[in-house]
């Protein structure tokens, strides 16, 4: 403990400012809003301000917590189904992004050094157009009288339009399309740093290039795979815009339930409870995983 104290007391004002800015940012824009959401989820429908929850009539503050929203969440199977379905879509998206993104990242990392900035630019290029516009663009491509169906019909490949919109296909297409760069970038960062001597050593010990990829490259890029998967999976679970625009009514995603609770039902405590459970669903496995990773790094 003594060591820690001396660390903090030895901080100069300049250092405190540098460390303080991100902490302040985090506190103001993440921690406090989260606490407010948590608080709202524990209040009753009518009393969403903090003063209503604290009763001063006995001379000391008394906090009234209302777990009604959580009880309802647990009893209505719709929520459970939606969480499950969100996780399912997010997991499939992550997997598809990994399968498609890995060759991309691998190719980029193994390209000549002078080509790499250009390739990286190409990955970033879609970000220059609004995310919303790009999703709408997919809509015009996929609908029954959209570009793809029209071309296929005029070429006499098909007679009747293929149903590509408002189902899990269009949802997954939109999600994979949107989140692919977030998989490629950390994978590329990881793969481009890889020491090629490991592959030479593997070849020297009798490993064909194909096997060396699975035995050396993939395990050594584990950190990149995990980082990319986290970056895709976490926002994908709570995704709202893509299921709203491309998913149709048949695809259940928790983001849309959240929206409905907030803005259609105006049930803020319920909506907040849904959000809190969603955060826990993502945070708990992440925390457990991180702890396991840290232990693995320390010990033998």
């Amino acid at each position: 403990m003594a060591k820690k104290q001396s660390f903090f007391t030895s901080l100069s004002a300049g250092r405190l400012v540098v460390i303080g800015v991100p902490y302040f940012w985090f506190l103001l824009l993440a921690a406090i809003p989260l606490l407010i959401v948590l608080k709202i989820s524990l209040s009753e429908m009518e009393s969403t301000s903090i003063s209503h929850m604290i009763d001063w009539s006995h001379g000391w503050p008394r906090l009234t917590l209302n777990f009604g929203s959580y009880q309802f969440l647990a009893t209505d199977s719709l929520y459970f189904k939606t969480y499950l379905s969100s996780i399912k879509y997010a997991a499939i998206t992550t997997l598809l992004c990994l399968v498609i993104g890995y060759p991309f990242a691998y190719y980029m990392a193994r390209s000549p050094k002078h080509m790499q900035p250009t390739l990286l630019m190409l990955i970033m290029l879609p970000f220059w157009t609004s995310f919303l516009l790009r999703i709408y663009a997919w809509k015009t491509l996929l609908v029954s009288n959209g570009v793809i169906n029209n071309i296929l019909i005029s070429l006499h490949v098909i007679d009747t339009p293929i149903e590509m919109m408002n189902n899990s296909f269009s949802l997954l297409l939109g999600m994979v399309y949107s989140y692919l760069p977030f998989m490629i970038l950390p994978l590329y960062a990881n793969l481009s740093k890889m020491d090629m001597r490991y592959l030479e050593a593997a070849a020297d010990l009798g490993t064909s290039p194909f096997k060396a990829f699975w035995l050396i490259t993939v395990p050594l890029s584990k950190a990149g795979i995990i980082a990319g998967s986290m970056l895709v999976f976490i926002p994908a679970v709570g995704e709202y815009v893509i299921p709203e625009l491309l998913g149709g009514s048949s695809t259940l995603m928790i983001g849309r339930v959240l929206w409905d609770e907030f803005f259609s039902n105006n049930d803020w405590p319920m909506a907040s409870a849904v959000a809190v459970v969603m955060i826990l669903l993502i945070l708990v496995p992440m925390g457990v995983y991180n702890k396991a990773q840290a232990e693995q790094m320390e010990g033998k």
Binding site: Y198, E200, A203, D204
Partner: protein, 373 residues
């Protein structure tokens, strides 16, 4: 290690590796290796010695199969392996800074090559245990490479490359990543393990001491070709050129002209002195030559030697004490500085010379080498 060359000679009947006129050109113009030929006998430890950029690593990488020669062929046991990919060659390499797989344990690292060969599990286990005990690493089998010291990593790398019992073992700067103290003990350990297994080795190093102690033959390389190939003592005592003499150990080189050229002796007149060399030289009188003289072959004294040849005089300008010996820097009257090494075989500083003293350096008529190149 002085006995190593002779032992190797006895066994050196069979040619294992033959490199024929191999040239490697990068980017169409840069000649990394220039028309090199060499043969390595079975059981030999062969060293490629040279400074950085001399082409020694490129040559080694062509033997391993990581580079393809632009011209020329490489044969292993009479089989042309020039275009064989590395994973099909019965050659293993110990990499510079080891390239141990960081995600695998010591045991798995050593077993890696064996598993690729589809060896039965119990045989793999047996072989790995044997290899680990050879390197005294059994208790570290479960550790990851980053949990080992530099010396331990080096031994893992060695036994990993030995596990498949390769016909030829390539060592790329095997001791380069270790500090000096560890190098010395590891050098002998490495040679002992290699000799116990009885594998033929080609070793790349920039460290002439490493090459001398480990190898049975040395090829001194510069700018892509071999300057001289020979046993360590030959290369040291009979360098064939100024470059080799200068690269291997310390040397004083006197420039001069051959005066007398007789079958049993020659004299070389230099600005500093006249050298009387007690053997014939392939040259002619009037020829410009260099006379190479190693510092340890020079005797220093305060008294003028009683001879007309093989001595010179100068002022002591530097004394470097090494413990076992002392090196004196002598500034000759011509302005040339030579180094002379005196053994400290008694505990008082024997020849009693100090800074600013006038000293006489002398040597025997068989101490020097006449260099025509």
């Amino acid at each position: 290690m002085a006995t190593a060359p002779k032992e190797a000679n006895k066994a050196a009947q069979e040619i294992l590796l033959r490199v024929e006129n191999v040239t490697k050109v990068y980017d169409g113009t840069v000649k990394a290796v220039d028309d090199v030929s060499l043969t390595v006998m079975k059981g030999e430890i062969f060293a490629l010695l040279g400074g950085s950029g001399c082409g020694k690593s490129t040559l080694l990488r062509m033997m391993a199969g990581f580079e393809t020669p632009t011209k020329g062929k490489i044969f292993l046991a009479n089989q042309d392996i020039t275009n064989l990919p590395p994973f099909q060659r019965p050659i293993n390499m110990m990499f510079q800074s080891y390239a141990l797989f960081p995600h695998l344990s010591v045991w798995e690292n050593v077993a890696f090559g064996l598993k690729r060969d589809g060896m039965p599990k119990d045989e793999i286990a047996e072989r790995v245990e044997k290899m680990l005990s050879l390197a005294q690493l059994n208790q570290y089998a479960k550790r990851k490479p980053h949990q080992l010291s530099g010396g331990q990593q080096q031994r893992v790398a060695l036994v990993r490359s030995l596990a498949k019992r390769p016909q030829l073992l390539l060592l790329d700067e095997p001791l380069g990543a270790l500090d000096k103290k560890l190098r010395e003990s590891t050098q002998l350990e490495l040679v002992n393990i290699i000799e116990e297994v009885g594998v033929t080795c080609v070793l790349v190093t920039h460290d002439q001491e490493e090459a001398m102690t480990m190898a049975s033959r040395i090829a001194v390389m510069s700018e892509g070709y071999f300057l001289q190939v020979g046993e360590p003592d030959t290369v040291y005592e009979m360098p064939n050129s100024r470059k080799v003499a200068d690269f291997i150990g310390n040397v004083n080189i006197f420039e001069g002209k051959i005066e007398e050229d007789e079958p049993d002796h020659v004299t070389v007149r230099c600005p500093e002195c006249v050298h009387y060399v007690g053997h014939g030289v392939s040259g002619h009188s009037g020829m410009d030559v260099g006379v190479a003289l190693r510092p340890e072959k020079i005797m220093l004294s305060k008294d003028k030697p009683n001879s007309e040849y093989n001595w010179c005089a100068g002022e002591v300008i530097e004394i470097v004490y090494f413990g076992a010996h002392t090196t004196y820097h002598l500034k000759l009257d011509s302005g040339k500085v030579i180094k002379a090494q005196e053994l400290n075989n008694t505990r008082d500083l024997s020849c009693g010379l100090t800074w600013g003293d006038r000293a006489y350096a002398s040597w025997s008529d068989l101490a020097m080498v006449v260099l025509t190149q």
